[in-house]
Amino acid sequence: MSDHVRDQGYAKKRKGVLGCSASLLILIAPLFFVALMCSPTAQAAPLTGIRAFPAFARKYGLPCSACHEAWPKLNAFGQTFKDNGYQLGNDRDAPIWQQPTYWPVAFRITPSWHRESVDRNQVDDLNNPANSLEQKTTTHGFDLSGLDILTGGTLANNISFLLVPSADNTGAFHFESAWVRFDNLLHSSYLNIKVGKFELDNLLSEKRILTLSDQGGLYQLYHFVPVGDSNIFGLGDNQLGAELMGHSKNDRTRYSAALLSSNDGNVSVPNGHGYDAFLTASQAFQAGGLGLQRVGAFVYLGRSPTYYLTQGGGSTQLDGLGQKSFYRAGFIGMWYLKKFDVTTLFMHGGENAFLGTGIAANDPNGLPAGARSPQWNGALIESHYTVNPQFILINRYEFIRMSQQALPVDSTNIFIPGVSVPSSDFGNLDSLTFGYRYYPFMHSRAGFAFHNEYAIVRQRKVAPVTGLDVTSSSLFLGFDFIY
């Protein structure tokens, strides 16, 4: 959950320094996947060796695998539990049932070794620091992730909460989540209201992502904006607002409608005013013995400022002005074939031309000639093979294609901000991530996973000097634990 991945100090937004020579890895990834699937170790876990307990085990006495396909990814039962406001509905949900010493808190952090490589990184010229060069950079070493402190549960029957103070790996804290939820209003599971800072009701939750590396630890689709765009919005970022959410008793039918402050979850209303809306709905159905399949759709309608009213010589932002619109819309399918599951997600994004070009709406020169609203399409295919509750294999491929550039194409130049882009595929992105998580033990007070992952990302023609593709890669070995 929470900002665990991005608090590692790795890339948050991907605007231009990404790339890929991924064909070889695309080739070997399935082989890696198949080899691990067939390995004796992967299938051996004996029945008596399982000691799985959930984060809420102290309250409910259920194995953690009951709610998690593989921690932290939820399964259908866990999603229902979450949608019920962290309640099982068996008359034991209120805190009054707990021992007075019970405190629903957990800490998560990931010591790791990782290697990061960028083939065309922008660096200062050692001989002339005012000048920039392109150079391959490779760094590696032992490191820490950010820290999540997770507290959640019920304040009373049908009043639930989540509070997640979260720190980056330097120890700087912020509130990743802080909300209270009123559940089952009018005795209906279709009426639940949540207020505070929370993750959007994304079926593919980035806060429960199974990959942790710099390049693979986020969904590119959720954070992509065109190169040169001034919008900071990310669909995977927790937002501030109010959400009306509902679901059928067995959670097969779900919907969510949220009214959000247009600040991308940042506190103190930095953008001054403006509200966004997020709508999503999904329906699950059984497909014989294959499992529970789910299909859904979502749309986000937002606004973002293009300049600010300031005071103190620009040191303080009073209000975000020149607000322009943007949107994200997509479809998602979650398909189960017994132990094998695939999530497919298609998303279309678009922004106002002022946001896309990074030009203030009050710029006296207005938009440059040929400027248009940038638009793009993207897709994600993420597959898992859950060998058993203690071992999961992960593979994800994402691609994003610009369908309309914000600036006119000038193939004789590299990207010139506010003027032109070098080609129609400028900024297109491919990302491949694969890895596994092995949980050697589980019990009621702690979780632990040995995590191994490789991720590679290529972005077209965004090298800062040569205008060539940029390829970035991560190799990550971590010890992910929660207590």
Partner: protein, 278 residues
């Protein structure tokens, strides 16, 4: 060439996904058109149930010491919620419904979010813990006659039966689970057990309908002190008792309580010292 190579990779991955899956075993559990397979149920049991019910199904999971009431011991093949006579094995559908319904006032949640196939697979695996399932057959399900009308005389007769059959000794004069015998009750494993508190709950362990209450009278709750009344009371009497018990559910607005209120009828308090009468 490249396309063929990808096809080959896909085929290998697809097949590799299936070589790990158990083949269709013998039919071990059946509910309607659903057939449960114990080998697939075993994997689900490991995921969902093992923490409480334990790897051997004996109710000695790691969480068991902290749970009250204790998890079911499947090796005894004794189940509370059945549609079959006392002492007999339940139907597969009884276990299937129990998994989907969960048990109020216990740590057993509703597993309705699981697919139907998953639940019947779990039933099939649970049946592997006791040899009784190989040696015995499930009992014949009891017949539940049509419910009699809810009337004041029916409720009053149920009140009298509650007194006469000494239900109050465990469940208490007001159905609050505080009868004089309540503190002494144990289940078949010598674990303390509390009688049902009608005043607190709005649902019953084995279902929420009047038919479910009727069924409990006639089948008993095996493994607990709650006996079967199948040989003691007639069906009409059982329905009268159902109607009276509904009036004890002070947190539930039902036709029984509404009828008492609208008719101005006040039932006399149960007299613990007397054997029967109004």
């Amino acid at each position: 060439m490249k396309t063929n190579f990808y096809k080959l990779l896909f085929a290998i991955a697809f097949l590799a996904g299936f070589v790990n899956l158990p083949g269709a075993g013998a039919q071990e559990a059946q509910v309607g058109k659903l057939t449960g397979h114990p080998d697939q149920g075993k994997q689900l049991y490991r995921r969902y149930c093992i923490g409480c019910h334990g790897p051997r199904g004996d109710g000695a999971g790691e969480n068991a010491p902290y749970i009250d009431p204790k998890p079911r011991n499947f090796t005894q093949a004794t189940f509370k919620c059945r549609s079959t006579p006392t002492g007999t094995l339940p139907l597969d559908s009884d276990l299937y419904n129990s998994i989907g319904r969960g048990f109020d006032n216990s740590n057993m949640p509703s597993w309705a979010p699981l697919t139907d196939q998953d639940r019947i697979n779990l039933v099939a695996f649970i049946k592997t813990f006791s040899p009784r399932w190989k040696n015995d057959k499930a009992g014949a399900p009891i017949t539940i006659p049509n419910e009699t009308p809810v009337t004041v005389p029916s409720i009053q007769h149920g009140h009298d039966l509650f007194q006469k059959l000494e239900c109050w000794k465990c469940h208490g004069p007001e159905g609050r689970g505080d009868g004089p015998s309540a503190s002494t009750l144990t289940d078949s494993n010598d674990q303390p057990i509390r009688p049902y508190n009608f005043a607190e709950g709005s649902r019953f362990k084995c279902g929420a309908t009047n038919q479910d209450i009727y069924r409990i009278f006639m089948t008993g709750v095996d493994g607990t002190p709650m006996p079967s009344f199948a040989d003691v009371i007639q069906p009409n009497d059982a329905w009268d008792l159902v109607h009276f018990l509904r009036t004890l559910q002070v947190n539930r607005e039902g036709p029984e309580r509404a009828l008492l209120k609208s008719s101005g009828t006040k039932l006399q308090p149960i007299q613990p010292s007397s054997g029967g009468g109004r």
